[in-house]
Symmetry: C2
Subunit: 411 residues, 2 copies
């Protein structure tokens, strides 16, 4: 009998009515003969309500107690979902993270799962019950309640699937799958039937917000087939799995990811000396500013130029730091620009196809879009361009790599 782990997020269980709709979906899978473990998030709005009360008491509340507090959100959902399942005639049992021994480290608020003891769940499954587990939470070795951080319910589902050797882990969201790019930008974007873990990771890290990066990493590590599906509509969704044998038939590029949350900083004319990159970027990182794209090159006079991107919210602080660093190092100038966007093409196919970069640059050149920065990985090429050209660039690449839906009716 196939075992499936399903995960329903906050909007999917946002009201009592929505929870009842989820129960119907679960009941349907159960009647098809699947063994089912269901991980759920807190009802949407609930976590923020709880955090709000905590903040009234303390702007920076104790992390241990924060976990005790917010973990109640999922606990409410599991109880209500089990009641709704029983109403559908399905035997079900709810468990908190601690009850099914989702053992984590003790990093409150951002704990990592170490181990799951699946025995209790397996006993319920054998007895024909649906098991409903609170997502996003666990407990440490001393039995303290921990949470995995926001969005951690995806990780709970994947970890459960790995521990129970489930046949598939289905993540139900408000979209019906992973798309070749954002359909709001490209009307002819298409749902992908399949995508690899690596591709999904690159898409996610480039701004595709469908799945938490950690849960995809986790699924890849334990080879848990992951399926993104809509909790509102029927449909096969997108299966995320290891590369399979038919990759030769696949498109070279699977999708176009982009984001406009970043800003670019450049420091020019740094007298060349060993460890210059460390001196510049180390100081930025030390201020807890995350750095994304980094490019360094050396001018004719041997002075170095370093360009990197940071989140726009961090731009002011990073610019101040960089000006100080420039002074210390005797660099010529510092440039900041927050009107940039990042566009990436992602696809395992590009490994075995030459000329992908050339196709990309050509498509952009034809639209007269200037490329400011380029970085590449094995299955991704990223460019930084002026923000105002973002939509144009995404559309150009989407058709340039033959990703447009075949006929206009689908648009």
């Amino acid at each position: 009998m196939s075992l499936i782990v399903q995960k329903y997020g906050g909007t999917s269980v946002g009201t009592v009515e929505r929870i009842q709709a989820v129960a119907e979906k679960v009941a349907k899978s159960h009647r098809l003969g699947y063994q089912l473990v269901v991980a759920v998030s807190a009802m949407s709005g609930e976590t923020n309500r709880l955090i709000g009360m905590a903040k009234e008491i303390d702007a920076e509340p104790c992390l241990r107690e924060m976990d005790v507090l917010v973990s109640t959100g999922e606990q409410v959902t599991i109880a209500l979902l089990c009641m709704a399942l029983k109403n559908q005639g399905i035997e079900a049992r709810s468990y908190t993270g601690g009850q099914v021994r989702i053992l984590t480290d003790n990093a409150h608020g951002k704990a990592r799962i170490r181990e799951i003891d699946g025995h209790r769940i397996e006993a319920d499954l054998s007895a024909g019950r649906v098991v409903v587990v609170a997502g996003f939470q666990g407990s440490d070795e001393d039995g303290n309640i921990t949470t995995l951080g926001r969005g951690g319910s995806d990780t709970t589902a994947v970890a459960l699937a790995a521990a129970l050797k489930a046949d598939e882990c289905q993540i139900y969201t408000d979209v019906d799958g992973v798309y070749t790019t954002d359909p709001r930008v490209v009307s002819r974007a298409q749902r992908l039937d399949k995508i690899t873990f690596d591709e999904m990771l690159e898409m996610a890290s480039q701004g595709s917000k469908i799945l938490q990066i950690r849960s995809v990493e986790f699924a890849g590590k334990y080879n848990v087939p992951l399926r993104v599906m809509s909790s509102f509509e029927e449909g096969p969704g997108t299966l995320i799995s290891l590369e399979d044998d038919d990759q030769m038939e696949r498109a070279v590029v699977s999708g176009i990811a982009f984001n406009r949350d970043e800003a670019k900083l450049t420091i020019r004319g740094i007298p060349d000396q060993p460890g210059v990159a460390y001196k510049v970027l180390g100081a930025i990182s030390a201020a807890n500013i995350e750095i994304d794209v980094i490019v360094q090159n050396v001018a004719k006079d041997n002075s170095a130029t370093i360009t990197f991107t940071v989140h726009r919210n961090d731009l002011n602080q990073a610019e101040k730091l960089l000006n100080q660093i420039a002074k210390d190092l005797g660099a010529q100038e510092v440039d900041a620009d927050d009107r940039i966007a990042k566009v990436s093409i992602v696809g395992v196919g590009m490994r075995s196809h030459a000329g992908v970069a050339a196709t990309m640059f050509e498509a952009l050149a034809e639209e007269g879009i200037n490329i400011q920065l380029i970085t590449t990985s094995e299955i991704k090429i990223t460019v930084v361009i002026e923000e105002r050209y973002l939509e144009l660039a995404v559309r150009a690449l989407h058709s340039g790599f033959d990703l447009d839906a075949p006929d206009a009716e689908q648009a």
Copy 2:
């Protein structure tokens, strides 16, 4: 170092501001050098909010899941209280019932505590921490979450005090102690400094709603000194404990309890035969109707009359049953009356004083109040009277037994 268990109920922790006020009270006791364990209820309104969601799904929701659901109420309070304590500079740790191994049977919704493992709490206390425990909940042998039923937070506090051999268990409520009678009826009612467990039990079972009966029984059984105090005002409250040596100096009667929730049923002219009381009352009990006062006597013709009281909500059903029983037994008639009230005098002093009943009946007779039923226990005499004389009767007994506050200013 003295160990005190404190319990704060729903209205005491009804808002974030109230929780902060409780934290101040706890911090004050901590600074006085006491070791402290604090049991708390859900914020007032929260339990009803949770039950409301469950009822939307199922009019009779699964009891196991109901416990998973409502136990989140106290879990929210413990977290917020610990945050507020830390804000006061007090180290504190919160625990759910399951986390400190409040082991119960598996009667979901009305579980009974079997055992508490105090080791974890003792370790925290030794480290100078205040321990905050979710009231009203525990877990069974299989780790399922259970609740003790409404008002069970008092029981949690007493059970913790017993397990930890605490010096005192302080129950904070919205009144400043136990009174000789309801101050709304007798303006010169006085707060009692002390009362015995037995007296408190009689008061509670006669309608004084300050403490849950079960928690008083529990405290008596394990001899845990219990103190009822106000969470809104300063003051010594009322200490409930075993009889002490200075009982000779005590008033003969400690308090006057009353209630008007009951109705009276009489079945007359039952042909006398063995087991008549069982036939009448067994059928009522079998319908899950609780019977309070029972009086039986036999007329000259050897026919029996049985009179008993039930809750007014049960009167209609009980009357119907009784009419059927009367027919079956060949009894003459059935009478129902819901305009009655019950008044009791309570006091361990009456054991060693003759004539207490006479004083009671005299006080009532002087006001022209007719007594319909009388029952007595070792430390209580209860009469049933017409409801309209209730206040008059309570006031007459309050002065008749010298319970009025000494001067009018206190009134």
